[in-house]
Symmetry: C2
Subunit: 316 residues, 2 copies
């Protein structure tokens, strides 16, 4: 197969922190010339020196204002999630019609949808992008999920430069959601290990705990473990709440605040109180999909206030 020659791409960064500068460095190393960036720090202040250093190190021109975005075919927005919407609204008037605005910020789906409206209003194309994994470790080759009707153009344009982009559908917010939910799982597992293993350290059983739990995880692939845990949760949440309450005693005896352990007890009690076990006739669902469908229907939806068991009203 003959690869097409890489055409020049007018790429501008909006926000030029560590992640953007590593993307710029990697993309210029892959042959992309003429990079430029706008970052509010260019207007002075304590962060300006670092900004100029990063720009120089990655061969990126610094734009004096957002007007410099006018000639961009692509804008990679890499701002803090707290400013996702305002960044899009302030950039929008300066975008050329038909330009692509790729929002890499780690904001929630609702914020990304709001940002997308501002971009669409000026006739530019919004792509929702979520960075999965570590930019310091992988640079511009880090795994990215992207959603939106133009997400595939992002992929075909930047894959030849080494970017690893998976398109996950047309819906703005899908990529953001995948990134943020995955983060609960990965950082949640980290938090579980920290709480549990500090208790294990203080009681001198670290190796035995790790041996036992890791043997459980290594016994099957991760998706099968997830299915095993969630399917059995539907019918055994009440008993497991009592079991983890015993674990809580031990965490407290070891002098550790039971942050995660308390949350586990509470979540198990919420599932038990939801009546999901009764809904499935106290028979374990046969698939993860069935288990999740039962839980999703039975757990309270705090947006509507529907079906909230009275015990749970204290956790809005």
């Amino acid at each position: 197969m003959v690869m097409p020659a890489t055409p020049p791409i007018a790429l501008r960064f909006l926000g030029f922190g560590e992640a953007a500068s590593l993307f710029a460095k990697g993309l210029s190393g892959a042959g992309l010339a003429g990079l430029a960036a706008y970052d509010v720090a260019v207007q002075g202040g304590p962060a300006e020196a670092l900004l100029r250093e990063r720009a120089q190190a990655s061969g990126t021109a610094l734009l004096a204002g957002r007007e410099g975005l006018a000639d961009a075919a692509w804008v990679f927005a890499m701002v803090q999630p707290s400013v996702t919407e305002i960044a899009a609204r302030e950039a929008a008037p300066h975008l050329a019609p038909g330009a692509f605005y790729v929002d890499f910020s780690s904001a929630s789906p609702a914020r990304k949808q709001a940002a997308a409206e501002a971009i669409a209003a000026v006739g530019a194309h919004y792509v929702d992008a979520g960075i999965i994994g570590s930019v310091p470790a992988s640079g511009h080759k880090v795994a990215v999920v992207a959603s939106g009707v133009k997400a595939d153009i992002l992929r075909t344009t930047f894959a030849p430069l080494g970017m690893d982009i998976s398109v996950v559908g047309d819906t703005i917010g899908a990529a953001a959601g995948i990134k943020l939910i995955r983060s609960i799982l990965a950082k949640g597992l980290e938090a579980l290990y920290v709480e549990a293993l500090v208790v294990a350290q203080r009681t001198c059983v670290t190796d035995a705990v790790l041996d036992s739990f890791c043997a459980f995880l290594d016994a099957r692939d991760a998706r099968a473990t997830a299915a095993l845990l969630v399917q059995s949760h539907v019918v055994h949440a009440a008993r497991r709440a009592d079991e983890v309450a015993m674990s809580r005693d031990m965490v407290v005896e070891a002098g550790v605040a039971p942050l995660m352990t308390d949350a586990i007890v509470e979540l198990m009690r919420r599932s038990a109180a939801s009546g999901v076990a009764e809904r499935v006739g106290r028979r374990q669902p046969q698939s993860l999909e069935q288990a999740l469908a039962a839980l999703e229907q039975q757990l309270p939806d705090l947006r509507t206030g529907a079906d909230i068991p009275s015990d749970d009203r204290s956790h809005p």
Copy 2:
């Protein structure tokens, strides 16, 4: 290798709920005769019929009182963890000197130590045992961890009958601790999946989230993943707290109470506030052992009140 013939073993159960009756069924199936049990339900009440049914099904004689424990060489205590100490204290006067009292209850190490004192006071031997895994699934062949100076005699006596007993040291409470800490990890992962995947269901990204997270877990063995997470936690907890705070927005937008997600944010903030990153010179520890040692030393010990950062005093 010639296996020794199994000698008769005078085994009595103290507490005869589901787990004990499944042990009795399995052990009598393996050839152990003369089983008997004492359970407070024998004195009448709503649970008596079920007790008698279980005894009959497993070929176990029911004892009218604790006096029946006097001829036991082995007592398997399988009571609810809330009555671990009282069960041991009430049984102790009836035990023969030199009898083995194996405490399978899921109580904390401190409770097991208190129970052990009562048993040792009458010249009987206490073994701390923790059931790992599911008795309904595996019966008496379920994995058991055992600790105490006589734990190895438990193993050599019951292994020929099919029991799967791992000795984990001489310390009373070690087996209990392993069981209870492992439970935090296993049920914690279950709780994370429930919270994250209900949000994923409501936002239609379940498969993509599972694909991404499971690929991360399947990329290396579980112990390597634990090391990766805990070593990086030491230096990146502050940033990760901010990232999970973004995930929290999404959980709330999906109408789900962020029980686990809130706990993750709080735990990350506690680690950051502990100064552990500064303690290691902001360099990621080179091993899980080093990371845990740094965390264990730096996190507040609520038993002593030492080194509790002021932000954390609201979580006793």
